[in-house]
Structure formats: structure tokens, C-alpha cells
Amino acid sequence: MQVYFDNSATTRCIPQVREVMDKIYDEDYGNPSSLHMMGVNAEKHVKQAREVLARILKVNEKEILFTSGGTESNNTAIIGCAMANKRSGNHIITSSIEHAAVLEPMKFLEEQGFRVTYLPVDEKGVVDLEALKEAVCEDTILVSVMCVNNEIGTIEPMEEISRIVKEKNSRAYFHVDAIQGFGKLLLYPKRMGIDMLSVSAHKINGPKGVGFLYINEKVKIKPLILGGGQQKGMRSGTDNVPGVAGLAKAAQIAYENFDEKQKYLYELRGRMLAGLSQFDGVRINGVTENGAGTMAAPHIISVSFPNVRSEVLLHALEEKGIYVSAGSACSSNKPSLSKTLLNIKAPKEVIESTVRMSFAVSNTDEEVDYCLTVLKDLIPMLQKYVRK
């Protein structure tokens, strides 16, 4: 049995999506910038993709900027916004548990003279709103907080964050890295006070190498990638027509019968959580509650078993056909502990023994049960052999 529980790393690109892309690669392969019919046909696909995504988010199609994926969306939002607004101020706020695709651009901006505040989080991984209140000032031009944490699945209180930011400084923009949240949660940027929102296709059963950034039309922003002036000069480079069409198709499918799908994911998660609670000393990192309305995303579980190193458990599960990811990259000569887990004050032993399971709607109850059965065999065996 092959069980893929690493859907937060990436997902399978589903056949319906590949079909759409294949047809474009095969027939409508023109360059949307070309003046002839082939160009026009290709351009239609891009336009249509924009429409689909705009409808899902309830935004204007002009506000969708296609990119090469989540990392580029985050870089564009953060660096592009900072560059365009440096006259209004040089202060940026983010959380201490962001993905590297946010933290590294922040580090870059610090080198350029910007001041960055990193907000602490509580033991569940929720951003400290009091600290946020204190941090926002006249100089604040941008606040960037993730929608769902990629390691522990905590949903950040986006609307409250936006409200606090706008109350204290109405000119500050709010960016949300929604790479783990899009397709799993209903997201309406305008209603939620989100000015920019990053999305990646391959996390929602779409193709790799494509994503988009929602940018509210009032946001002042500069492009990072310069060239032939595609996408109104905001992102040069020949449009990835098959990619954006595939992205739109994947998004459309993710939001079809959405409530049902979300409920199904919460059920899988709940089933796994219930099974995991049977293990002695097991620890769930982040939010232990489950279900819509909680702070937990429907598809991520971060779990640690005492005295079982994450890498070892990962490979032991792999031998049984189960694929998860290690909570932290850990090895003898390069110990690097997960920042998220450190910031939720997880002890070192917990961090070194954390694995992440992440689900997709294609996963089943049987797979969850199989995984639990395998764990029942493995955990006591692995706990017997620890480094002394």
C-alpha cells in the first residue's frame, strides 16, 4: 500500500488539470503576445484563468498577477511593496514563524535599511496580537503574516490582524502568504482586509512552477522581473499559458463542493488525531482541536513521539510505503532546528522527533488506519533503540 501523507510538500497534478494543460501544449501553444490568431487563442486561456481565480476570491481579474509560484509571489509582494513605498516609511512587520520565502526577503530588506519586527507567537503558533498593536506605527508600510503555518497547520487570525493594522495605520498594507491555506479555507481578501495574497498551484493538485499574487488595485508596488512588459509590466516573461490554465483548473476543482471537501479533510485529520492520542507520551504541536471554526487547518498534523528521531521514523514509515515529512531537518553534522517549533517553545527533544502528516482529499480512512497500525508496530520498536 502506498500512502502519500506529504501533501503540504506538494501534491499530485490531477488528470483533469493535465488534460487542460496538454491541450494547450498541443494546440494553443502560441505566445499570447503574438498578434496573430495563435496568439489570440493562447491569450484567451490566460484571460479565462484570471476570471476563474478572480471569481473564487471575489476580486477583480485585474488584481491577479501570475508568477512562477509561491516563492515569487511572496518576494514580489514584500520586496515590490517595500521598494514602491519606502518614502512613506521603512518599517515592516511579520511573524517569527513565516516560511523562508517570506523571512529571506525580510532579511534582504533589513540589509537595504528597512526595520523589520518579528512578532512572537503563542504555544499554538498564533501571532501575538498585543505585540502587533504595539508594533504598528506611522512608519509601518507592510505587515506580512501567513494564512496557515506550513509546519503545524495553525490558522492565523487574518481579519483581526488586518483590523488592528488598519486602525493604527490605514496606509499600511497587509500581505498574506496563503500557500498552505488556499484551496483549504475560504479566502475573500476584500472582505478580510487582505491587500495581497500569495498562492501556489502545486499545493492544490496543480502543476509546479506556477502561482499567483492577488494585489489589490490600490496597492503601490514595483515589479521585480523586468523585460518585455507582459502583465502590464508587473511581471515580464512570456506567459506560462498551460501553467496558469492548469492552476485555474486546479483551483476551480478545489473550490467545487468546498464545504464537503473541507469537512472530509477535517474528518481524516480527526480520525488520525484520535488514533495518535492512543500512543504514550505523544505530542501534537500547534492546535489540537479539530473542525471548521477552529484555528486548525484541515490538512496538517504535526506530531512527535518521545525518543523517536523524526528522520528515523520517516524512513521507517517509508519502508511501509507511507510518506510523511520530517518536522525539522536534522543530521549529525548539521543540526538545524525548525524555527516554527522553536518559536512555539517546543523542547529540543520534541523538535527532533517531529513529523508532519498532511492530507489531500484523495486520502482515505483506510490509509489513516493503515498508518496507525504501522505506527503501533514501529513506535515501540524504535523507542527501544535510542542514542544514549
Binding site: E311, A316, E319
Partner: protein, 394 residues
């Protein structure tokens, strides 16, 4: 432009009656190395010299690099090869060669001709004189001079069925051709040291087989792939390597269960030696090769090495035994294994390593501990030997 290489070899020239064996091994290793280069090559030995001729289009840099990886070669002379179209044509080629190869003409030279094909109208002395005149005619004004005793360059002209011209010699890697000094089993771990040890043993003409101890799930597929990659990098010097992957998990866990924890590494290594020797005997290897260096880690103190070595019935070659870590790193960078070696994957030695391992083990104590394994260990070793996966890396 260069159609061929003259290969100069060192020590193998002095090996008396066995000389042809050494030359054959050298030719074989050159052919193996050139297999990775696009193009067709002919490697021949003739009157105590080895030639590599390109029979098709080829990439000069790639071919040269491949030849530079072959042990036993001290010098490589890139040669121009032309048909005999009369002396005047030949002179044009030689003058051209000098014009292109030496931008600064303020140098001294000597023409050194050899007439292997005796029906050539000029003898060697005559060629030397006449060619010298032609070269002077072309470059004397720019400062070129003859010096028959200590010239900057020798302009070599060999008259054979074709005519070879060369004046440069590129340094070879030295050593002796792989295959001239038996075969040995390298304990390859994935670290920095063992690939270097393999390289150094091969440099003295030893053919290399390797063994890697894999301990899933404690070591990952990537750790194994890293060892395969390292073996491939070493094989550019040694030729194909038969890499034996031993599943060591059960043995390791059994030792962990039965023996004192601080002795784990020592006992584990003794079993690695035993298994490596079994594999070596099966494949005709005469010795083990390890990357051990005195005092580098707790299991490499002289006391530890002595206790581990006690199980050895074969010679254990330790080419790095007295090198400092930095010296080993320098060689690994030179041979191109360093970048791969430092990828951070666990190997089976580090997985269970004790926080305070013994550094001065006592043989009697270790033997006593090993007695506790008597119930199952023979069976486990047998299974490990039966389930070895052998990968031919080239």
C-alpha cells in the same frame, strides 16, 4: 588540431620483464577512462611508448582530462599528426604549430627528430638541421634562438607511417596503473576520508572493490545514493568499482541490545571488518582499505585501532594513517569528492554513537562483550552476507 597524445609513463618503465604487463594495464585503464569521452580512440603501445589516437571528432579538453585521471602516467604530449606530403609541407605545419602555441617567441628551442620509418629521404640529423633553419627563418627576427643543451622547448618530430609533431608535455597524475597490484576491499562510509583512501590505494596500482554498511531506517536512501555517487567519483581514477551494500541494521541493533553502549562503535567496526573480509575473500581481494587516521575520532585512537584490527586476518591498508584532517580535505578537494562527502546525511556509525564512547578499549573486555552476542550473531552475519546488493559503479 591535436589528433593524438603521446603518453609517458614513469615507474612502470623500470619493471624489467613484467614491463609488458604494466603497459597492457596502462592501455586498458586509458581505454576505460576514455569510454566516458565522446569520440573513438585507439590506444596502442609501440617500442616502449603508448599512443592515444583520435579516430573521430572529439573534445580535446575532455579527452585530456580523462587521460589525466589515469594512474601510471607522468606526462601527456598532445601531438599533431599529418600525412607525409614532403618536407616543405611538414615544415609549414611545424612553423604553424610554433606560431600558435608560443605567443612569446623570445625562447630557445631544439629540434629532436626520430626517423622510425627508414625510407624517409632525410635522416634524423638532416631533419634536425633543416627544420631548425626553417624555424629560425620564420621566427629569428622575433627573438627565437637555438639552444642544443638547455632549450626552453623541444620540437619533437617522429617520422612513422604518419608524422607526429609535439613540443608540449602536460603533467600526468603519476602512480602505477590500476590492475598491476592486486585487488583490495575499500570500506566506504560516505565521509571525507574513505574516498581519499580508495584513491590513494588505487594510485599504487590496486584495483578497488568497495563495501558500504547501510542501516535503514536509521540511514536514508539518500545516504546510500551519496555513497554510490562517491564511488562513481572515485571510479574516474580506479575504473569500475563493485560496490557491495550490506544491510547492517539487525547486527547493529543486536549489538546495541547486548553490549555496553560505550563499546558499540568498536564492536560494530569489528563486525564491519569481519564482513568486509568475507566479501573480500569471495571476490579475490587481498586486503582491506580504510580511511582511518590515528586519533581522528574515538574509534581511531591507536588503542581502538589495535582492538579493531585484532579481527583482521588480511592486511589493512590505511593510506591516511598519519595525515591531518586538513591534508585529507585538500586531497578530497583535488580529486573532486569533497563536495559530495560533506552532504549532511547520517551514516550508520553516527546513528547510535554513544555520547562518551571508549577511547582506550581493552581487548579482553571487548571480547567478553562480544561473547554476549554468541546466540544470534553468526546467523545475522550470514544473513547480511547473503543479502548483499552489489552495484557496479562506473
Amino acid at each position: 588540431m591535436y589528433k593524438a597524445f603521446l603518453i609517458k609513463y614513469g615507474e612502470i618503465g623500470v619493471k624489467g620483464k613484467n614491463r609488458h604487463l604494466f603497459e597492457d594495464a596502462l592501455c586498458k585503464q586509458i581505454r576505460l577512462s576514455l569510454k566516458h569521452v565522446d569520440g573513438e580512440f585507439l590506444v596502442t603501445k609501440e617500442n616502449g611508448r603508448v599512443y592515444v589516437e583520435a579516430l573521430s571528432e572529439y573534445d580535446y579538453e575532455d579527452a585530456l582530462e580523462a587521460i589525466q585521471h589515469v594512474f601510471g602516467i607522468v606526462g601527456i604530449c598532445p601531438m599533431i599528426q599529418v600525412e607525409d606530403e614532403g618536407f616543405d609541407e611538414l615544415a609549414k605545419v611545424v612553423v604553424n604549430h610554433i606560431a600558435e602555441t608560443y605567443p612569446d617567441k623570445k625562447i630557445t628551442f631544439k629540434v629532436d627528430a626520430r626517423r622510425a620509418r627508414k625510407n624517409y629521404p632525410l635522416n634524423s640529423m638532416e631533419i634536425n638541421m633543416k627544420m631548425g633553419e626553417k624555424i629560425l627563418e620564420a621566427f629569428e627576427e622575433q627573438g627565437m634562438k637555438v639552444d642544443v643543451h638547455h632549450p626552453d622547448i623541444f620540437v619533437n618530430i617522429e617520422i612513422r607511417s604518419k608524422i607526429n609533431i609535439y613540443s608540449q608535455e602536460i603533467k600526468g597524475i603519476g602512480g602505477m596503473p590500476v590492475g598491476t597490484n592486486g585487488k583490495a576491499m575499500l570500506l566506504l562510509s560516505g565521509g571525507i576520508d574513505s574516498p581519499v583512501a580508495g584513491y590513494m590505494a588505487a594510485k599504487r596500482g590496486v584495483t578497488i572493490d568497495a563495501v558500504y554498511f547501510h542501516a535503514p531506517p536509521y540511514t536514508s536512501e539518500r545516504a546510500k545514493q551519496k555513497v554510490v555517487d562517491l564511488a562513481r567519483l572515485v571510479s574516474r581514477y580506479t575504473g569500475p568499482i563493485a560496490l557491495n551494500v550490506v544491510n547492517f541494521t539487525d547486527i547493529q541493533l543486536y549489538i546495541y541490545e547486548k553490549c555496553p553502549h560505550d563499546e558499540l562503535t568498536i564492536i560494530m567496526k569489528r563486525f564491519m571488518y569481519r564482513i568486509a573480509q568475507e566479501l573480500a575473500a569471495k571476490s579475490g581481494s587481498l586486503a582491506l582499505v580504510t580511511g582511518e587516521s590515528i586519533g581522528q575520532v574515538s574509534s581511531q585512537t591507536l588503542q581502538s585501532l589495535a582492538v579493531i584490527n585484532e579481527v583482521a586476518v588480511m592486511p589493512v591498508i590505511r593510506p591516511l594513517v598519519s595525515l591531518d584532517k586538513q591534508e585529507i580535505i585538500d586531497i578530497s578537494e583535488k580529486i573532486g569528492t569533497y563536495e559530495t562527502s560533506i552532504q549532511p546525511f547520517e551514516d550508520c556509525c553516527t546513528t547510535f554513537v554513544a555520547k562518551h564512547p571508549v577511547t582506550k578499549p581493552n581487548l579482553k573486555v571487548i571480547q567478553k562483550s562480544e561473547e554476549k552476542l554468541s546466540e544470534k550473531i553468526d546467523e545475522l552475519v550470514k544473513t547480511a552476507l547473503e543479502t548483499v546488493e552489489t552495484i557496479i559503479v562506473e
